[in-house]
Amino acid sequence: MKRRDILKLAGAGGVLLLSGTAAAGDTQGMASNDDALGVLVDTTVCIGCRKCEWACNQANALSSRDSKAFEDKSVCRKQRRPVDDAFTVVNAFDGRRSDGEPSYMKIQCMHCFKPACVSACLVGALRKTPEGPVTYDSWKCMGCRYCMVACPFQIPAYEYSDPLTPRVRKCTFCAERLGEGKKPACVEICPNEALTFGKRRDLVMLAYSRIRQFPDRYVDHVYGENEAGGTSWMYLSPVDFTKTELPALNSRPIPEITETIQHGVFRWFVPPVLLYGILGLSMISMKTGDQDKKEDDNGA
């Protein structure tokens, strides 16, 4: 083989071209947008009425839609997780209230700015929209469940019981309703205004003004402002967040390291092409020093 051949292949090598798309992808579609929408959850206001759970099931046509089923507050103590047939749950936690009652925290997808699930999904079935919601296209999905491995909040749930068309299920941030100019179903129904919907930038300001106004009521921390690179949904809490079920995370986006590695390995296709070239050259040079060997032994 001549050197020219190697270069030709390097140029035309579909192999390297394909793998090289990693370099082009970058953080496209994941950039934080100041105008992005979000929700501020004020756990000091939430009364654990579970109306948001019911409204969510309604909006997403999930199976449990009888409002009576949501009157039982005791399940809140069970530390439930969102599942394929319930995208949001309200869990009780000890918020040190003077009346001894528990505080409540609504759990759902955080709609991260740099979502690990989106970065993980190999076919782009999950997508961070500029408006805020992280959406899912079931027809693209392969069902590999890497998104579930990746999510730092353990949110995506899978329809394991469906043999043919299982979907990844999670809060959609009511992307369709937002498109129609409506609020998310849970926000709309909340009787106590524990959930505030708006531009995320405004919500951060709102959160800090509440903290400033009522320093005794809140810890000085807006969860989600910076966690995992920032999330569209944010929380206020009466106690340190380490005492809630939200995971302690620093401000580094979860997919940062894997994306750095991927884009490093494929920077302008250089490393793979270089490796190809080096191997090709050693193949040739070590061969010329070895003239008496058979020529036709390749591939055997």
């Binding site: 190697i6 990693a22 069902g143 890497y146 749930a157 991927q262 193949m283 061969k287 390749n298």
Partner: protein, 416 residues
């Protein structure tokens, strides 16, 4: 080269061993069909906490790692021209080809929507941030390359021997011509494919190690490291030759051939070097990250780590440093098996043991169905290998053996 003539092995396909394997494979196939009909929930112990289980850890991650003999021997012989090792290239290629084929079959069982497995090939779905995308694309292309590399072996088998039955025999010439053409064309460009195979292997072997780096809060610190891709690549390279040795000894035992000790102990000389490199990177990484403190907390994870490193890396490294051990079939086999076990354990550790869900309410253990399917696929792989070496010229028979076999065959034909 006299020692270099590969030929189809003549042996009875069915023995007690293969019958047992066939039974295990049969159960596995039944479970596979059941999985496709009944869904993941019925068959596996996977849930929202543990989205990945045995099938990803063994069928996919171990499968890819243990198929690494294909690219390491190809590099050794075709790129670095260590012609002495030529006889092991074909068996290693066949292992890789079957190994990757079964990785895909195993993966299909795990995918919720297996019929969408081709989606990563559609350009508008490409998602270059995803490690899994790269793994998927590389594996797909590499599998194709492996089949291309196998073509000369298949044509060698059929060249000059095309005899279709009855009327179809008019096509004999045409097919003969097509085979010759394919052979000639491929012969010229095969080097390009061989190098591509090595590059692709390096890419996806390492990327398999990057996969779990996206879950920093769920991974045990002993295995959570940004160095993981390098460690995966090194361990894949390290397990390549041991796989070749392991299989070669097994095959020669099974087919009653003499093991090619000269070649195998030659290969074994490389292993301690790579293992040593792997071990030092692993230790340096543990120290730099400060994760070594977890080694001594007596937890199951720490025990698994010791087992992985002590039994699977250090021990075979020591054994293979001893020239006498490298010259003994028994020790070679033991050391090779240890390395294989160590790398397999590493993959299991990374994908299963190190993974703890944030809100764990249970621990994952594979269901009997999951185990049966995995065991079935492994059994089927071994059977496919046996069938392939009996059909195609893969295993190099020592100069003395081949004529005898041919002679026997001629005798048998004459008798018939």
């Amino acid at each position: 080269m006299a020692h270099d003539v590969a030929a189809p092995v003549q042996a009875p396909f069915f023995t007690t061993g293969t019958r047992i394997l066939a039974a295990i494979a049969g159960i596995g196939i039944a479970v596979y069909i059941f999985r496709l009909i009944a869904g993941l929930g019925m068959v596996t112990n996977l849930d929202n906490q543990y989205p990945w289980g045995l099938w990803i850890a063994i069928d996919v991650a171990c499968g890819v790692a243990l198929a690494a003999g294909g690219f390491t021997t190809a590099a050794l012989v075709h790129i670095f021209h260590q012609e002495k090792y030529h006889p092991v290239v074909r068996p290693a290629l066949l292992t890789a080809l079957l190994g990757y084929t079964f990785v895909v079959i195993g993966l299909l069982a795990d995918l919720g929507r297996y019929y969408n497995v081709w989606h990563p090939m559609i350009p508008f779905m490409w998602q270059g941030n995803s490690v899994l995308f790269e793994v998927g694309i590389c594996v797909m292309i590499y599998l194709t390359v492996l089949y291309i590399e196998f073509v000369p072996i298949a044509t060698e088998r059929f060249k000059g021997r095309v005899h279709l039955l009855g009327r179809l025999s008019v096509f004999d010439r045409l097919i003969e011509w097509a085979i010759t053409l394919a052979d000639k064309t491929l012969g010229r460009v095969m080097s390009l494919f061989i190098i591509a195979g090595v590059v692709l292997s390096c890419l996806h072997q390492s990327s398999l190690g990057t996969l779990m780096v996206i879950a920093p809060t769920k991974m045990h610190p002993l295995w959570y490291t940004p160095m993981s891709p390098l460690l995966f690549l090194l361990s894949a390279i390290a397990v390549g030759f041991p796989m070749v040795i392991f299989e070669s000894i097994l095959a020669s035992r099974s087919f009653k051939l003499k093991p090619e000790l000269d070649i195998l102990s030659g290969l074994a000389r490389f292993i301690p070097v790579i293992l040593g490199l792997y071990l030092s990177v692993k230790i340096i990484d543990l120290i730099l990250r400060g994760a070594w403190v977890y080694l001594f907390d007596g937890s199951p994870a720490s025990l698994m780590y010791f087992l992985e490193l002590g039994g699977g890396v250090l021990l075979p490294l020591i054994i293979l440093m001893i020239p006498k051990a490298r010259g003994s079939v028994g020790w070679l086999f033991t050391a090779a098996a240890l390395v294989i076990g160590g790398v397999a354990l590493n993959r299991i550790n990374v994908f299963l043991v190190a993974y703890t869900p944030l809100y764990a309410t249970k621990t994952y253990f594979p269901s009997p169905f999951e185990i049966a399917l995995t065991a079935g696929l492994i059994a089927l792989l071994v059977l496919a290998y046996r069938a392939a070496v009996m059909i195609f010229p893969v295993i190099a028979l020592p100069a003395g053996v081949r004529p005898m076999v041919v002679e026997n065959k001629n005798k048998a034909l004459a008798g018939a």
